[in-house]
């Protein structure tokens, strides 16, 4: 950010709470200004909102409809517009879906895979980031370039050979096989590298003069100081892992090992599962990730920004 740049217009900064709409208007439109100007401004704002609302409705339409079908119980699910407003709200479909497939199992698998992926990602990425940020050693630049290069590799095609590798390691149909290939990532390493670089050098010097072992310094001094970045990495990794579909679906063929994102397709392929029941399963699948996202929006907006730099 440049010095002298006002905070006005920067979306993330202070702004009037909803319900006090005039604050920004007053600032932007001094009373001395002619009436027609403020009228035009108001119309412009109204049009702006109308456009935003229209796009939001189009964007959110599949979500709204799925939710409405999941909580409704009767009527043609595809009728428009009546299917968008359920006649009666009930949780029957959410109970039914646990009877049709073992959704509890899928849920548990998702939690298990997500938890361990996050733990391993933080450990592996911060271990690798620490010497890159705080050491100077022969080959450092090469290592840095090599890690950066993984961002350029066409990693989307890797699943084929990774499946061969996983088969040889006898990790097919294991959760470890799902977790292991996703753990080391350039984005995570760079995030943690930036975090370690922000720690004052004096702290590190003091610990080294005291003769503390490097691992002790790392776990007891350095790592706790990067908690904010660890939090951000946790949230981004957790949501990505929860939603991940392709790789788990390649590694796991046994239904009782599948996470929700894969299991939901089993459900939709199951004979006799109605649209409403599948919709309930879909809502349960996406809800955790969406809820986390809504409460931690800024990490997503900032995380992407950080990834670009």
């Amino acid at each position: 950010m440049l010095p002298g740049q006002g905070t006005e217009g920067r979306g993330n900064d202070r702004r009037p709470a909803p319900g006090t709409p005039v604050a920004s208007d007053l600032r932007a439109t001094p009373p001395a200004e002619p009436r027609s100007m403020s009228m035009r401004r108001r119309i412009r704002t109204a049009l702006h909102y109308a456009l935003l609302l229209l796009i939001a409705v189009v964007c959110a339409f599949p979500f709204l409809w799925t939710l409405s079908v999941a909580v409704g119980t009767e009527g043609n699910v595809f009728a428009f517009p009546s299917s968008l407003i359920p006649h009666s709200v009930s949780l029957a479909n959410f109970i039914e879906v646990f009877r049709v497939v073992d959704l509890g199992r899928y849920f548990w698998n998702s939690i298990w895979i997500t938890f361990w992926t996050v733990m391993w990602t933080i450990l592996v990425c911060s271990l690798a980031a620490y010497p890159l940020a705080r050491y100077r050693f022969r080959g450092q630049r090469l290592v840095f370039t090599v890690i950066l290069a993984t961002l350029m590799l066409p990693t989307e095609v890797n699943f084929l050979v990774n499946f061969i590798t996983t088969t040889h390691l006898r990790l097919v149909n294991t959760h470890l096989g799902v977790i292991l290939p996703t753990v080391a990532g350039a984005i995570g390493i760079f995030m943690m590298k930036n975090a370690f670089e922000e720690i004052p050098q004096e702290l590190l010097d003091a610990a080294r003069v005291d003769g503390a072992p490097e691992l002790y310094i790392f776990f007891r001094i350095m790592l706790p100081l990067t908690l904010p970045q660890i939090g951000a990495l946790t949230i981004l990794t957790a949501v990505t892992t929860w939603n991940n579909f392709l790789w788990p679906s390649v590694v796991l063929t046994k239904s009782d090992l599948m996470p929700l994102a894969v299991g939901i397709l089993e459900l939709s392929g199951t004979f006799g599962s109605s649209t409403r029941v599948i919709a309930a399963g879909a809502v349960l699948t996406i809800a955790p990730a969406l809820i986390v996202f809504f409460f931690t929006q800024r990490f997503f907006m900032r995380g992407m920004e950080g990834a670009v730099k």
């Binding site: 006005e8 217009g9 979306g11 702004r15 909803p18 319900g19 704002t45 456009l51 935003l52 796009i55 939001a56 964007c59 599949p62 409809w65 595809f78 009728a79 428009f80 592996v124 990425c125 271990l127 690798a128 010497p131 940020a133 050491y135 050693f137 590799l153 066409p154 990693t155 095609v157 890797n158 084929l160 050979v161 990774n162 061969i164 590798t165 080391a184 390493i189 670089e197 050098q201 590190l204 010097d205 080294r208 790392f218 579909f245 390649v250 994102a261 397709l265 939709s268 599948i278 879909a282 699948t285 996406i286 990730a289 969406l290 996202f293 929006q297 997503f300 907006m301 920004e305 670009v308």
Partner: protein
């Protein structure tokens, strides 16, 4: 950044001297000093090597072999690629992957418009940003299921269009082989808009405010300011996003896998879906890897083209 790096340099060097100055087993200390960064790096390098670099090397090699998992691979030269050329479905796949590039300008334009619309401090704007970003944080499998319902012949889109009296008979969005690919492309567009919006929003917010204000005082209209200041200022982001969306368009796979499985009559095969189908379903890994090698070469060529044609205009 530079000062930080410099500080790290001097400090790391300094601590090395410190260790030897204290003189407790000087050579052992030096060995530990030399080894410890590598021990820290080892897990990540091992995993990246095994799951990011090995696939590229081994996959490129296997594409030129005959390999059935049980016996060692046998070199067969270009035979797998000849098989690809003989397969009409592969032609369709690569044609579709190239057709998929149509979404690149659409997604960029849409994302820039969205970013401009949400780049303000109006009350509730964060809720709108979240709404536009929702598809990005939704699992692709659920996206596929939801859009399957939207596209169903008795589904929502037909119902809405019939309700509006735009059409009389339902349209087979996913069952008509002329339409299906475009229907899938629309889903990819829907999924991607929010992600690129955030990138553009960050670029828009990095434009110095006084620059736009100065132009405003000089009497430039909103439209002029947009074209003369905003667009040139976000040009690096446009380049980046164009490259990213070009590459991901070429490598589309999951939407096809979930929504159409390549059908109807193999009209929605994409390059990478072909590779998936050959490898994971038919267990013909050399053919699959040959196809994915072709896709990767396309990616490299397109990335190069993008950089070549977009950059000089700006720099």
């Amino acid at each position: 950044m530079n000062t930080r790096a410099a500080a790290a340099d001097t400090a790391a060097g300094g601590s090395g001297q410190l260790a030897s100055a204290f003189g407790y087993g000087a050579s052992r200390a030096r060995l530990r000093q030399a080894l410890s960064p590598w021990l820290f790096l080892a897990p990540a390098l091992l995993l990246l090597g095994l799951f990011a670099f090995w696939p590229v090397l081994w996959g490129s090699f296997l594409a030129f072999t005959e390999y059935d998992f049980l016996t060692p691979p046998r070199w067969v030269g270009l035979a797998n690629f000849e098989d690809l050329l003989d397969d009409p479905v592969f032609f369709i796949s690569m044609r579709n992957s190239l057709l998929y590039l149509l979404i690149v300008p659409a997604i960029q334009l849409g994302a820039i418009v969205l970013a401009v619309l949400v780049n303000n401090t109006l009350p509730g704007i964060k809720a709108f940003r979240a709404a536009f970003y929702m598809p990005v944080v939704t699992s692709v499998s659920v996206v596929g299921i939801m859009w399957g319902w939207m596209y169903n012949e008795q589904g929502l889109i037909n119902a809405v269009l019939q309700w509006l009296h735009v059409i009389n008979d339902p349209i087979g969005w996913l069952s008509d082989d002329r339409l299906a690919l475009f229907s899938v492309m629309l889903v990819t567009l829907w999924r991607g808009l929010g992600w690129y919006m955030v990138l553009y929003l960050a670029a828009l917010q990095a434009i110095p405010k006084d620059l736009e204000e100065a132009a405003g005082l000089d009497g430039a209209t909103r439209w002029q300011r947009f074209w003369q200041i905003t667009i040139p200022m976000i040009m690096p982001t446009i380049l980046l996003c164009t490259v990213l969306s070009t590459l991901s368009a070429i490598k589309v796979l999951e939407e096809v896998l979930i929504m159409t499985k390549g059908g109807p009559v193999s009209s929605t095969y994409t390059g990478l879906y072909y590779a998936y189908d050959q490898g994971i379903r038919a267990f013909n890994f050399p053919r699959a890897l040959a196809a994915s090698l072709v896709v990767s070469v396309f990616c490299l060529a397109l990335a190069w083209l993008n950089f070549r044609f977009i950059r000089p205009r700006h720099r």
